[in-house]
Amino acid sequence: EDQVTQSPEALRLQEGESSSLNCSYTVSGLRGLFWYRQDPGKGPEFLFTLYSAGEEKEKERLKATLTKKESFLHITAPKPEDSATYLCAVDEIGGGADGLTFGKGTHLIIQP
């Protein structure tokens, strides 16, 4: 069973049409949840870290929220340049230094 599940796998929106991406996780103890943006052929670019339920972070048209079982990435009035794959990752308590566990991502396309 995957520890991190992202939905939908792909999402096509019109410019200005707001929506949300979901990341659900099943780790026993969450040390941190991370959101990344990845453009084709590039490495993931860090967006946000969330550490506790109820926490929110914002950057331009993006807002990330966290509950005890899932996180949402809200995109408000998106523009074509927001098109990318958005990845969610978790860092589990007791996981040591062994990196983050990633979801498979949501491929977002914003049409002008």
């Binding site: 040390r31 991370f34 490495g43 993931p44 670019e45 860090f46 860092d91 996981g95 990196g99």
Partner: protein
């Protein structure tokens, strides 16, 4: 500021040939270093990580190995490439276990 360099950007190698991918980090000391592989539809898979010079932990048994000859240098190697080694290889660093990973721009490896 910290930067991470990864090269080459693309590589085409025949089956059975050796491999060496390099990654260096600037602007920080004693980082935790990581090699991930990204395959379509499978997300990011952690291959190796290192918490210090000469210290390597392997997450997945495979045809690859890693080395850390200097504090900010991480190398991914293979003696004989397989077709299944094709993929997008990403190097990353983080300063501590609860901080975000920062990625390089990756190497697209095609084994023919």
């Amino acid at each position: 500021s910290q930067t991470i360099h990864q090269w080459p950007a693309t590589l085409v190698q025949p089956v059975g040939s050796p491999l060496s991918l390099e990654c260096t980090v600037e602007g920080t000391s004693n980082p935790n270093l990581y090699w991930y592989r990204q395959a379509a539809g499978r997300g990011l898979q952690l291959l190796f990580y290192s918490v210090g010079i000469g210290q390597i932990s392997s997450e997945v048994p495979q045809n690859l190995s890693a080395s850390r000859p200097q504090d900010r240098q991480f190398i991914l190697s293979s003696k004989k490439l397989l077709l299944s080694d094709s993929g997008f290889y990403l190097c990353a660093w983080r300063s501590s276990y609860n901080s975000p990973l920062h990625f390089g721009n990756g190497t697209r490896l095609t084994v023919t």
